[in-house]
């Protein structure tokens, strides 16, 4: 009994010494890459869903490094190929697109990750500014 009464405090002391300060590092937000070819999966005009009413299947846009190329048979924010940049690579809310022979144009974007799929939601007005279009793009695998 006397041996046990000495052994237990000794074990507790050893357990206490075995503790060490854990280094906790907050992981940084990864930069978002939009590289790849994207197609339209949903299209709204002033909130009205046009996805099944208009043929959006002929649209695609490919981002690579700081350039993009567009193949579009639908109204879009730009009509020609050019360059782009994000306002914040980690938390992008705006894409600046500069098509050939034109000045840089800001476009509001969202970059949601839903149902395991990354999307880009782009809002723009190709005609009257009172008419707002919102395209949801997903990457072509």
């Amino acid at each position: 009994m006397k041996k046990i009464s000495i052994l237990i405090p000794a074990l507790m002391l050893m357990m206490f010494w075995s503790c060490s300060r854990e280094k906790f590092v907050v992981p940084g937000e990864a930069s978002k890459s939009v590289d790849g070819t994207w197609k339209i999966v949903k299209a709204l005009r002033n909130g009205t869903d046009l996805t099944s009413r208009f043929d959006f299947s002929h649209f695609s846009i490919t981002f690579k490094d700081s350039s993009y190329s567009i193949d579009s048979l639908v109204p879009f924010a730009v009509e020609k190929n050019g360059t782009y940049r994000l306002d914040d690579p980690q938390y992008p809310f705006r894409m600046y697109i500069k098509q050939q022979d034109s000045s840089e144009k800001p476009i509001d974007i969202q970059y949601p990750f839903t149902d395991g799929v990354r999307s880009i939601v782009i809002s723009f007005s190709p005609g009257c500014t009172s008419n707002t279009y919102q395209y949801t793009l997903q990457k072509i695998n």
């Binding site: 009205t48 009413r53 048979l73 009172s130």
Partner: protein
């Protein structure tokens, strides 16, 4: 009736119940009504029209710090948020009381986070206007007021709205309420829709009041928008009212006076039926008319046809006059 009173008198518990019921009615009872409206039937494009609402408010309990709310239903093209002035006078205030626009997105009382335009649309509607392009614009009194209990007083609301140059027929609407009860119960608000109001402006008539053989959405667009052209074959007698397929025959006029046509009957011009005798097609005008780079479309002239292209229906239900659409922004 005397027998009913006699019966109630004979039952003490029933007397108590009747008294309680009367108390409840007195406490809960409250009302606001729009008794009459003075409004012109029409106005010329670009002019200002004045409407007067004669409102009666009855209260049963006193209330403090209440703001008066007035909302108007108008075409978006009027930009009423910037082009309207609303004031009122009342039996319990002195002098003209000013009102100010309630910024969009401001939560309405007891509206589950909805702002006034959204709440009014959900609860009261759009007055039966048949086209998109309408909006509710809401105003609060600049001052807040204390109102005594069991009082009835009149309020005279003066609304002044400058209209755009557009040629429009529209069903105006009005709502009055307060900043505490919102639209939580019909006793706390009143609405009125005095009928069709006409603006004799310029351009094609945009008729919100009457069903149209052909409608367009959006009302304002450029040739780089996606434009929906609708055909309601049941409005008037026409050669396509029982058609099984309807096609679009389209002519575009460019800014240099050139004309571009597409009048074929294939999948690119085929309308989709979405209801009984109702059809629509969504087009990208620049694409379907193959508009050359550097040119832009100013207007469209169009008919609806059958599969052979020989039967054409235009504005008057026959092939004598095409439908027209002018590209413009607000």
């Amino acid at each position: 009736m005397p027998s009913v009173i006699k019966y109630i008198k004979a039952k003490p518990w029933l007397k108590v119940a009747v008294v309680l019921l009367l108390i409840v009615i007195v406490i809960v009872g409250c009302s606001i009504t729009i008794d009459s409206i003075d409004q012109p039937d029409s106005v010329n494009g670009g002019d200002t029209f004045n409407t007067t609402l004669h409102v009666t408010i009855s209260t049963n309990t006193s209330a403090d710090n209440r703001k008066f709310m007035v909302a108007v239903l108008v075409p978006k093209m009027w930009n009423t948020a910037k082009n309207a002035t609303i004031t009122f006078t009342s039996d319990i205030t002195t002098g003209v009381q000013k009102m100010s626009l309630i910024p969009a997105g401001t939560a309405a009382p007891q509206g589950s986070g909805r702002d006034w335009p959204t709440l009014i649309t959900d609860v009261i509607g759009n007055g039966g206007n048949l086209l998109p392009g309408w909006e509710w614009v809401a105003f609060y009194s600049d001052a807040a007021y204390s109102v005594g209990g069991n009082v009835e007083f009149g309020v005279t609301v003066n609304i002044s709205v400058k209209v755009s140059q557009d040629n429009v027929s529209f069903k105006l609407g009005y709502v009055v309420a307060n900043n505490s009860d919102g639209l939580s119960d019909p006793q706390y608000y009143a609405s009125a829709f005095p009928g069709c109001f006409r603006v004799f402006g310029t351009g094609d008539l945009t008729d919100f009041c009457n069903p149209q053989l052909s409608s367009t959405d959006p009302l304002n667009a450029l040739d780089n928008d996606i434009l929906t052209l609708g055909f309601d074959g049941g409005i008037i007698d026409n050669a396509l009212q029982d058609a099984s397929d309807v096609y679009l025959c389209l002519k575009g006029v460019t800014d240099d006076g050139d004309t571009l046509d597409v009048c074929r009957q294939d999948s690119t011009t085929l309308l989709t039926q979405y209801s009984i005798k109702k059809w629509r097609i969504d087009i990208w005008p620049r694409s379907i008319l193959n508009v050359p780079e550097g040119k832009r479309l100013e207007s469209l002239l169009y008919y609806f046809t059958d599969k052979t292209g020989t039967i054409k229906v235009g504005k008057t239900g026959d092939d004598s006059t095409p439908f027209t659409y002018t590209f413009k922004c607000q």
